[in-house]
């Protein structure tokens, strides 16, 4: 095991396995193996011009690709000293917000719900409750339309660039989705009410106190965390470079193509909905908090299996943010931006992707990226996943229930659709 790596890069998502290490019939430890073949983005962003990198990195994750081009473009803007008009920035942000809606709904409906209602898949759930499914799909389809209008398509949007956006859509185009927001809000509330009234299966969790650190971006405004250059861990605020340069250590473990991140090399931490929700509950709109509390939920959520509550709250909050955006929307010409041809720049920034903090750092020399460092949310969560699952399940007799719980823990982290894998194949290894 190598510790304290400098310039360590990560990748996420894709295929994974749950590995249960067993001792005399009882769980010794649990590890989540990411076996997805790596794609080496950090390698091939090198030598490319920063504007091309903005498009390329969105392919790191199909579900939250907008987070990638959002954070990359903003990192470059900041280090090149590009001033982005707040209204243009808002168009860029809105694409990211619409993506958050999409991602959360996909997770809660397609991936998490089957666990909450004990079906094998959403495919089974749909005929059981077609009405409610319709509501969820309405929100999903609306988020797609919003992303299409603002960014061109539901995945890998094409309307984000260094300096803001390529084109500010016409008011009439935006109106087409804005006018349906009211209906979608209703569908969402109906769906959310159902989900919030479900009980998280937390019998294991209650008995143990697993306390990984909670880490979210520290918002510069009074809003709920969105994007920032500061990190907040358990209430303490750090700069991005301090946190990712010194506090976090990176480990490349044999069982995973993803790099593991640990605070000081040993302690795990959690990013994502639950970290945001528990630390910044008060920054949610009152409307949202009231709604959540009607169903008996509020911060802090006691374990990760309850993270769907945070997702529902965030979706609600995000829809409200979009509503505000639509209300004052107007079109304007998009600016053109020149990328400096000479000089060396170190560019870093972070955004709250649906699954947690996404941190990018680039070094640009004479108009070309020479180094790219990308730390994705799942990378930061896998160590916590291992730790939580191990603590919760250690000593239990290896049976279907154990495997199921290991699966549920993974799913509730939503480690990115493809590797969250509702059906992580299980391997049991005797030690």
């Amino acid at each position: 095991m190598i510790e304290n790596m400098k310039s360590v890069l990560t990748r996420v998502e894709g295929e994974g396995n749950i590995v249960i290490y067993e001792k005399e019939g009882h769980v010794d430890s649990v590890k989540y193996e990411v076996i997805e073949a790596p794609r080496f983005f950090e390698f091939f962003v090198r030598g490319k011009s920063p504007d091309k990198v903005v498009d390329i990195v969105s392919r790191i994750c199909g579900i939250c690709g907008t987070s990638y081009n959002f954070v990359a473009s903003t990192a470059f803007e900041r280090c090149f000293g590009v001033n982005v008009d707040p209204e243009i920035m808002a168009v860029k942000e809105a694409q990211h917000l619409a993506e958050r809606v999409k991602s959360h709904i996909l997770h809660v409906f397609h991936l998490n719900l089957p666990d909450l209602v004990n079906t094998k898949s959403v495919v089974e759930f749909i005929p059981r409750n077609p009405q409610l499914s319709k509501r969820a799909l309405e929100v999903l389809v609306w988020s797609r339309r919003a992303m299409e209008v603002l960014g061109g398509r539901m995945h890998n949007v094409v309307n984000i660039k260094i300096g803001g956006v390529h084109r500010v859509p016409e008011k009439s185009e935006v109106e087409k989705v804005a006018k349906d927001l009211g209906t979608v809000m209703k569908s969402f509330i109906e769906f959310a009410s159902f989900v919030l009234s479900l009980k998280a299966p937390d019998e294991f969790m209650q008995k143990t106190s697993v306390k990984p650190h909670l880490v979210a971006l520290y918002p510069s405004t009074l809003e709920y965390p969105h994007h920032s250059d500061k990190v907040c861990m358990d209430g303490n605020v750090y700069s991005l470079s301090e946190f990712y340069g010194n506090i976090v250590k990176y480990l490349h473990v044999p069982h995973s193509t993803a790099i593991h991140c640990r605070v000081k090399g040993t302690e795990s931490y959690v990013v994502g909905p639950i970290a945001r929700f528990n630390q910044f509950y008060n920054r949610l709109s009152k409307e949202v908090r009231d709604f959540i509390e009607t169903y008996g939920w509020k911060a802090p959520l006691s374990n990760v299996l309850q993270s769907f509550v945070a997702r529902i709250a965030e979706t609600y909050e995000t829809l409200l943010m979009l509503e505000k955006f639509f209300d004052t929307y107007r079109t304007r010409p998009a600016p053109s931006t020149a990328i400096p041809e000479k000089g060396e720049f170190t560019c870093e920034y972070a955004v709250e992707a649906p699954r947690g903090i996404l941190y990018h750092k680039y070094v640009v020399r004479d108009g070309k990226v020479v180094m790219g460092d990308i730390i994705a949310p799942t990378t930061q969560n896998v160590a916590a996943m291992d730790d939580i699952a191990t603590t919760v399940l250690r000593g239990k007799k290896v049976d279907a229930g154990v495997v199921d719980m290991a699966r549920k823990i993974a799913v509730s982290f939503d480690p990115c659709l493809s590797c969250s894998v509702h059906a992580l194949p299980v391997k049991i290894i005797r030690v």
Partner: protein, 255 residues
């Protein structure tokens, strides 16, 4: 009811989400049943299916086995997305030594077991239908599913992004703004998204391998340079998402 299996290989999973979207339509849900998809259902192995949707490029022996098994169990195989059809963005590593590549990203490159260059699915098995796109357009997939359910297929149009651009009444960004654009050499299917946002196409549906040869690609590269791009950038852009087609065209292998 047709049974559908979704096989995921190396990719960003964007196509999987588009698949999920295509399955949000009533008429599709009433004709198709997803019986295997690791993201969507707790089923670990694919049984016999009518249609296998294979997403992502083949990066390892393990993938190769998955794909062959899918072929054996599926009546109809669709390569979904530019990764599956042409290799996808990860093929940008082609031409570099894999060990250098691994070292650039991983402290312990020996843990990483992947092919030097990812393969398109059609390099491993016979593919019945291809839907390029990074990601694919969920509506195009829905169209395919609707037509397949009627016993037929969508009529295949082999055309450039320009076709959609002109049909949408957009103005060519190369001609009217001097912006480099890959539209003329890129497979249609996206509905000319980038030009509709006033920017040049960056080729995410892959190069129009059926119409190009080395010389034409070279003239096109020169045109991009004329429009202000550096040669490296121009070549990288062309390699982009359809590197498989780029390299076969450049090597003059097949058309």
């Amino acid at each position: 009811m047709y049974k559908v299996g979704v096989v995921k290989l190396t990719s960003c999973s964007g196509c999987i989400c588009e698949i999920a979207y295509a399955f949000a339509f009533d008429d599709i849900l009433s004709n198709y049943n997803i019986t295997y998809a690791t993201i969507l259902a707790d089923v670990e192995e694919m049984g016999d299916v009518d249609v296998a949707l294979i997403e992502g490029s083949v990066s390892s022996k393990h993938h190769e086995e998955l794909v062959k098994a899918a072929r054996a169990k599926a009546k109809f195989v669709v390569a979904v997305g530019t990764c599956a059809v042409l290799g996808g963005i990860q093929s940008l590593r082609e031409g570099s030594d894999i060990n250098t590549v691994k070292k650039a990203v991983y402290p312990n490159p020996e843990y990483i077991d992947v092919y030097d260059v990812p393969k398109p699915v059609a390099d491993v098995i016979n593919v019945d239908f291809a839907l390029p796109g990074c990601p694919i357009n969920g509506d195009a997939l829905a169209l395919f599913l609707r037509k397949y359910a009627l016993g037929g297929l969508p009529v295949a149009f082999y055309e450039s992004v320009c076709a959609a651009c002109k049909r949408k009444g957009l103005e060519c960004v190369v001609v009217s703004k001097g912006i480099p654009c890959l539209g003329p050499v890129t497979n249609a299917g996206c509905g000319a998204l980038c030009p509709s946002f006033g920017r040049g196409c960056y080729g995410c549906y892959g190069l129009k391998y059926f119409d190009l040869n080395k010389e034409k690609l070279e003239t096109f590269t020169n045109r991009l340079i004329e429009l202000g791009m550096g040669r490296d950038d121009a070549v990288a852009l062309l390699k982009g998402y359809g590197f498989k087609s780029y390299s076969t065209i450049v090597k003059g292998e097949k058309r």
